[in-house]
Amino acid sequence: MAAIDHQAELIRAGANISSTWGNIKFLARRYPLGAAGAVIFVIFLFAAAFATWIAPLDPLSTNPKASLSEPTSVYWLGADFMGRDMFARIVHGSRISLAVGVGAMILGSGIGVAVGLASGYIGGWFDLLVQRISDIMQSLPLLVMALVMAASLGPSLRNTIIAIAIPLVPSVARIVRSNTLSLREMPFVEAARAVGMSEFRIALRHVLPNTLAPLIVLATAQLGSAILTEASLSFLGLGVPEPYPSWGRMLSESAAEYVRRAPWLVIFPGLAISLVVFGTNLLGDALRDILDPRQRS
C-alpha cells in the first residue's frame, strides 16, 4: 500500500518546493477540506493545552447569583444552573474530550496492533480464537458495548477510556491481521528472515511499518467516534463523572428543563462536540486520500 509520493510528483512537474513550509502550503492547497480539519484540530489541542490561560473564570466555582445567566461580558457563553461559567467549562471540557478520545484511540489501537500482529503471525488455534472473539465483540453496536463496559467498570475517567477502547480493538486487529498475512509472504520479509532476523524483529521492523497507512486512516476515524461515544456515555450519565466538565454531561444536565429557558446551555456544548468531530473527520478524509490511494474519493 504505497502512499502517493507528492515530492516525486512535484519534482516531475517542475515545481520548486524544498522547505517544510512549502510542503505544508502545497498540501493545504491540494486538500483544502483536510487543511480546515487540521486547523480545527489544532485549535482543539491548543484549547486543551492552555485551558487555564484561555478561560479567565474557574470552570468549577459556583455563583448562585449568576444561575442561568445569559451570555454577558463576564459570562461569554452564559452560565449554568449552578452559576458556573459555560465558556470556562467548554474550554476545560476539551481536555476531557481529548483525554478520552486520544486515550481510547491509542489504547484500542495499541491492543489491536499487538493482537492483530500476533494473530497473523502465530496463526493456527490462536488466530482462530482471536477471530471468534472479534466476531463476538462486533456483534454489538459500539455504544451498546461501551455502555455495558462503562457500567460494569464504574464511572471514572480511566474507566471511560477503557470502556471505549476495548470495543475499538477488533477492527484494528482485523486490518493488521489481514495485512500481516499478505506481508508475511513478501520477498522482503523472506530476505529479512534469510539474513537471520528474528521473527519478532521482522514483525516490528518490517511488517508493522507497512501496515501503518491504513492504520492511521482507521485511527483517525476512530478518534472521531471515540469522542462521540464519550459524549453519548456522559450524556446518559454513565461516562466521565463530576467534577470534570464533560461536554456530553453538560448537555444532559441542561437538556430537559433548559431547552425552553436557557438555550445557550444546549447550543454551545453540542457545537463544541460537533466541531471537533467534524474537524477530525475532515482530517481523516484527507489522510485517507493521501495515504490510501486505492480508496480515493
Binding site: D135, V144, S152, L251, L275, Q295
Partner: protein, 315 residues
C-alpha cells in the same frame, strides 16, 4: 452453497453463545448488585434483610449455576423476572420492541431516500461546488451527536411552533404515530443518510470509470439512462451492505434519541436496566441485540447473491 449456509449458522450460534458468556460475566464483575443499590437508596442497612433479598434473587449461588439457570430458562422460553418491576422479562421487553423497530425502519427509509439520490448527484457532479457542499453536509452528519440534533429540533419547534408532539401516551392511530416518530427518526437517520451518501458517491465514481459506461455513452444512451440504468444498478451493492449494517447499528443512535424524546422503546429501556443492575433484563436484551445484528449480517450476505448473480459462496 448448502454447507456454506450451515457453517454460517453454526458460527452465528457460537457467536451468540460467546456473547452470552461475555455479557453475563461483565455484569457480574461490577461491585454491587441490585440488593446493594436498593438498600443504599432506601438508607436501611439490615444485613439479614439484605441477605434474604440476595437469596431470593439467586444472587448467592455460584456464577456457573446462575449462568446455567439463565441459559436453561432461555431454552424453555423462560427469561426470568425483572428485579425492579418483578414482572416477567418478556412482558417488559416485548411491548417495547415494536416501538424501537418502527423508529429504526423509519430512520432507514429516511436515510435511503436522502442518501442514495444525493450520493448519485454528488458523484455525477464530482468536484463541482455542489459536490463540495454535499460532501461537507454529509461529513457534518457524521459529526453531529444525534442527541444534540434531537435537542436542537426540540428547541426550534418550541420556539417556532410553541410545542412539539412528545410521547405521553401510546399513539391512537397511524397518523399520530407518524407525527410522533418522524422527528426522532430523522434525527437518528441523518447520520445513516450521511454514511449512505458517502458510500453511494464513492461506489458510483468507481463504476462511472468502467468501460461499459463508456460503451453506453457511445451508443448514445442519455445521461440519465447512463447514470441510473447502467451505473447506479451496479453501484448499489456496497450501499445495500451499509444499509443492512446500519439497520442493526442504528440502535446506538436510538439509545440517546429515545432518551431525548422520551420514547419508551427498548433502547432507552436498556440504559435504565443497566443503571438498576437489572441483570435479567440487561442480559436478555443484549443477547437479543446481538441476535438481531448477526441475523441482519447473514441476511445481507444472502441478499448479495440475489442482487449480483456473479457472487456465489463456495462450499
Amino acid at each position: 452453497m448448502g454447507s456454506y449456509i450451515v457453517r454460517r449458522l453454526l458460527l452465528m450460534v457460537l457467536t451468540l453463545f460467546g456473547m452470552s458468556v461475555v455479557i453475563f460475566l461483565l455484569l457480574r464483575i461490577v461491585p454491587g448488585n441490585i440488593a446493594d443499590i436498593l438498600f443504599e437508596s432506601a438508607g436501611m442497612v439490615d444485613p439479614a434483610e439484605k441477605a434474604k433479598i440476595t437469596k431470593e434473587l439467586g444472587l448467592d449461588l455460584p456464577l456457573w449455576s446462575q449462568y446455567a439457570q439463565w441459559i436453561g430458562g432461555l431454552f424453555q422460553g423462560d427469561l426470568g423476572f425483572s428485579y425492579v418491576s418483578e414482572k416477567p422479562t418478556i412482558e417488559e421487553i416485548g411491548p417495547r420492541i415494536p416501538i424501537t423497530a418502527k423508529l429504526a425502519v423509519l430512520a432507514l427509509v429516511f436515510s435511503t431516500l436522502i442518501g442514495v439520490p444525493l450520493g448519485v448527484i454528488s458523484a455525477v457532479r464530482q468536484n463541482t461546488g455542489l459536490d463540495y457542499i454535499l460532501r461537507v453536509v454529509s461529513l457534518s452528519g457524521l459529526s453531529l451527536p444525534s442527541f444534540w440534533l434531537g435537542l436542537l429540533i426540540l428547541m426550534a419547534s418550541v420556539r417556532w411552533f410553541g410545542d412539539i408532539p412528545i410521547y405521553t401516551s401510546p399513539p391512537k392511530n397511524l397518523f399520530a404515530e407518524l407525527t410522533l416518530y418522524l422527528i426522532p427518526a430523522a434525527a437518528v437517520g441523518f447520520r445513516s443518510s450521511a454514511l449512505v451518501m458517502r458510500l453511494t458517491r464513492s461506489s458510483m465514481l468507481e463504476v462511472l470509470r468502467q468501460d461499459y459506461i463508456r460503451t453506453a455513452r457511445s451508443k448514445g444512451a442519455t445521461e440519465q439512462s447512463v447514470n441510473f440504468r447502467h451505473a447506479l444498478r451496479n453501484a448499489v451493492l456496497p450501499v445495500v451492505t451499509i444499509i443492512g449494517i446500519e439497520a442493526a447499528f442504528l440502535l446506538g443512535g436510538l439509545i440517546v434519541t429515545e432518551t431525548v424524546f422520551n420514547i419508551p422503546g427498548v433502547a432507552r429501556f436498556l440504559v435504565e436496566a443497566i443503571r438498576w443492575r437489572d441483570y435479567p433484563i440487561v442480559q436478555n436484551l443484549v443477547l437479543f441485540i446481538a441476535l438481531v445484528v448477526v441475523v441482519v449480517n447473514f441476511l445481507v450476505d444472502m441478499a448479495y447473491m440475489f442482487l449480483d448473480p456473479r457472487i456465489r459462496y463456495a462450499d
